[in-house]
């Protein structure tokens, strides 16, 4: 079986699909994995010798399209040659994890027996081949998505190909990497912390002053057992890092420069005590090693989708209402406020606890700085998805239970468990219970409180289910008369339960639609011959049906957790 994975963004995005590749390898023994990536991602190819790499010559293609002295059809011929080369492989499966138009069109031209992920057709309509990839495409860039629950990209990719994520495989050193990293490891053999201070996007960067202050504080907290700092970066970041190094030396911080290739960076990560980084490709590389990571998330960085994927790591997210900001837009604020909210003190304290492996007062640190930033701990739940759990001192158990339920409902809905003859609700309920049970931040009488909440949730969900059925009944376009709008409007105003954020967003859209229809049809009946309106109605009904399915899944899960609780008792 030959599989082509298409990842045409940055190196970090390619690394985000590696867990999916591991799932595929585990499921299919005789699988041959190919990757199609941009030439700029070539640096990681030597880390995965078992993969056959193909490169899109993006720069040369772009040059040929616009420069006068190159024949008009040169890029066309070059891409055509590449396509013939790729098509000669006879791929059984193509998986596009990129989700931009470029990849959608290109994947349409590449031949494969089955295609998953965004693929465009002649009518310029997208297809996804999986509800997970459709969800990723629809919700990923949607306005208001910052409030929604969102699965990590790596989980979406694995579930998108119909597989559960498997534990990560750690990467091995390469000969080239060891050779290149030797000077940093041999000449100064003391323990070190890696600092990746620059990202690919200015909005995700912290100031040079911030880094000096942070490193100074970590150094002071470890005067008796000092760590040295390796300032990691690519060759084009040398100028900035040299200045940072100068400032470190001025402040008597033991630091040195590590301008390295990707294989050498991997060698360093495998030996580092900690990596402190923004949202970078190096962070994703670190998740394929045992190196502990402290991620600083700001600007457009969205930790729900692309946070450090391995469990037991830490993320500090700046608490700015506009974050995460939309991709491709400049920060509208003059002073880049989300940068200011991550303080060197917070970062130094968290880094200190990680280095000392003392995690018991992380909740207290999180509470101290909760106005400016939120501290998250990454974990892999028993329900087989990654999440970043916000740390709070004395957090509400109800919120945790609700969050895990919502994630499982969404997961089961996207996996289309509700369409199965016998869905795995019992197993999933058990997994939720196990995840809640293993939370070291919970300090409540677990079983009793859970039973109380579950009873309340069950009652609410039963009401919700009835309410949705009524709503669907009234939303038949042919039967909807003007007086029904009033009934529906009233119905919408009296929702029985508080919904989770993304369902609430959908419901608000439905509600808005009804209001508009009511205004429009105050004096007349709905025109039956208006196809556009009918298609809106169909979409609306589909959305209500979706809510009903989710409500049904939720109810089954609640009952499953309840029944397992009784067994425990």
């Amino acid at each position: 079986m030959k599989v082509l994975i298409v990842s045409l963004l940055r190196m970090g995005d390619v690394l985000l699909s590696i867990p999916m590749m591991s799932s595929l390898k585990k499921e299919f023994k005789n699988i041959e994995i190919h990757y199609l990536v941009n030439e700029s991602s070539e640096g990681i190819s030597s880390l995965f010798p078992e993969i056959k790499w193909h490169f899109l010559p993006r720069r040369i293609l772009q040059k040929g399209l616009g420069e006068f002295e190159i024949p008009f059809f040169e890029s066309y011929h070059l891409l055509n040659e590449k396509l013939h080369e790729w098509n000669r492989e006879n791929f059984s499966l193509l998986i596009n994890v990129t989700h931009n138009k470029l990849s959608g069109w290109l994947c349409a031209a590449i031949e494969a027996q089955q295609k998953i992920g965004l693929v465009m057709d002649r009518q310029s309509l997208p297809s996804f081949g999986s509800p997970w990839f459709r969800y990723y495409n629809e919700y990923g860039g949607k306005e208001g998505s910052k409030k929604e629950l969102f699965f990590h990209c790596s989980d979406v990719f694995s579930y998108g190909v119909g597989l559960s994520p498997v534990p990560l495989e750690y990467l091995k050193d390469t000969r080239k990497g060891i050779q290149e990293a030797k000077p940093w490891l041999v000449e100064e053999p003391s323990p070190f912390v890696l600092i990746q201070s620059l990202t690919s996007d200015n909005r995700k960067n912290l100031s040079i002053g911030f880094w000096v202050e942070t490193l100074k504080m970590i150094h002071l907290l470890h005067v008796h057992a000092p760590f040295r700092f390796l300032l990691l970066g690519a060759p084009d970041e040398k100028e900035y890092l040299t200045e940072l190094l100068r400032l470190c030396h001025e402040n008597k911080i033991p630091a040195s420069l590590a301008i390295s290739s990707i294989p050498a960076a991997l060698t360093l990560l495998k030996r580092a005590q900690l990596l402190i980084t923004g949202d970078t490709g190096i962070k994703h590389l670190a998740s394929l090693t045992r190196c502990p990571v402290l991620e600083l998330s700001l600007g457009p960085s969205d930790l729900r989708k692309t946070g450090v994927y391995s469990s037991g790591n830490w993320i500090i997210q700046s608490n700015e209402s506009c974050a995460p900001c939309p991709q491709g837009q400049a920060c509208p604020h003059l002073n880049h406020p989300c940068e200011k909210k991550i303080s060197p003190q917070l970062v130094a304290l968290v880094a200190d606890r990680i280095l000392k492996k003392e995690f018991q007062d992380m909740g207290f640190i999180a509470s101290e700085f909760q106005r400016e930033a939120t501290l998250y701990k990454t974990l892999r739940t028993h329900s087989d998805y990654w999440m970043a759990q916000p740390l709070k001192n004395g957090g509400k158990f109800e919120d945790d239970l609700c969050r895990y339920l919502d994630f499982s409902v969404k997961k089961m809905f996207l996996t289309q468990e509700h369409l199965q003859l016998i869905g795995e609700f019992g197993t999933e309920g058990n997994k939720i219970r196990r995840t809640l049970n293993s939370q070291d931040t919970l300090s409540v009488d677990f079983i009793n409180e859970m039973e109380t909440h579950l009873k309340q949730f069950e009652k609410e969900e039963e009401l919700n289910s009835l309410w949705l059925k009524k709503l669907l009944q009234l939303s038949q376009p042919r039967g909807l008369k003007k007086e029904n709008y009033l009934i529906v409007s009233k119905l919408l105003q009296n929702r029985p339960i508080k919904l989770n954020n993304d369902d609430q967003i959908n419901l608000e859209a439905i509600s808005e639609f009804f209001r508009a229809q009511y205004e429009k049809n105050k004096s007349s009946y709905l025109r039956q011959d208006n196809l556009i309106e009918l298609s809106i109605w169909r979409k609306l009904q589909k959305e209500i049906e979706e809510l009903m399915f989710k409500s049904d899944i939720r109810l089954k899960l609640i009952r499953s957790i309840q029944s397992q609780g009784q067994e425990v008792l």
């Binding site: 293609l61 040059k63 399209l65 006068f68 024949p71 059809f73 138009k101 069109w105």
Partner: protein
């Protein structure tokens, strides 16, 4: 145009004090010219399978050297001086036997030439022989735009000889005289235009258009 001998004993051409090749060793100079073209064209195809268009025949030494290094590459030459062409026919009757050399008076013939059409249908490179170009820069520059498909006439010709793009009338009209054509012209396409492209060409063109910022 005068004929004379170089110091190395080869017959060469000049117009007054303007020499079309080296007065000392035109063969050595031709080798250097081909090497320089190879280095310049690092991102463009230059091997036996791809076509080549050379603008400027000069005294023919660089053409012979090019042919020697790329014997299987389809090759055509544009030259503004008939004397140069006659000189090459006499000097290299065997070496350049199959290489068409087009003059300004043969423009109609150029577009119908099978070798030229074959080159234009695939990947090719254009090489400029500067001493020849200097004798008629305007004509050579026009040839360059046409051959590259960057002028209205050149693009129309290239579209006309391609099966996949032949039906696209709008694209031909959307480039005006004096303007240089680039892939942004596909922005003016209507759904009808796009539908005229066969599936493979459609997806390729759509992909490439996304690469333009």
């Amino acid at each position: 145009m005068d004929e004379m001998f170089s110091r190395s004993g080869n017959r060469i051409l000049s117009i007054g004090s303007h020499y079309l090749c080296s007065r000392f060793d035109p063969v050595k100079e031709a080798r250097q010219w081909v090497r320089a073209q190879k280095e310049k064209k690092d991102s463009l195809p230059l091997n036996s399978h791809y076509g080549a268009v050379i603008l400027g025949a000069g005294a023919g030494y660089h053409l012979v050297e090019f042919r020697r290094q790329f014997p299987r590459a389809p090759l055509v030459v544009f030259e503004s001086s008939i004397k140069s062409k006659i000189f090459i026919d006499q000097q290299f009757p065997i070496e350049l036997f199959e290489v068409p050399i087009f003059l300004p008076t043969e423009e109609e013939k150029i577009w119908l030439d099978p070798t030229f059409q074959k080159i234009m249908q695939g990947r090719f490179s254009v090489f400029i022989h500067e001493p020849s170009r200097m004798l008629n820069p305007r004509w050579f520059d026009q040839c360059l735009s046409d051959v590259l498909g960057r002028s209205q006439r050149g693009l129309q010709f290239q579209l006309g000889i391609r099966d996949d793009f032949a039906l696209l009338e709008n694209i031909k009209e959307s480039v005006y005289e004096g303007e240089y054509a680039n892939w942004k012209l596909f922005d003016a396409f209507t759904d009808q235009d796009w539908n005229q492209l066969p599936a493979h060409a459609f997806f390729l063109t759509r992909t490439l258009r996304e690469l333009i910022v």
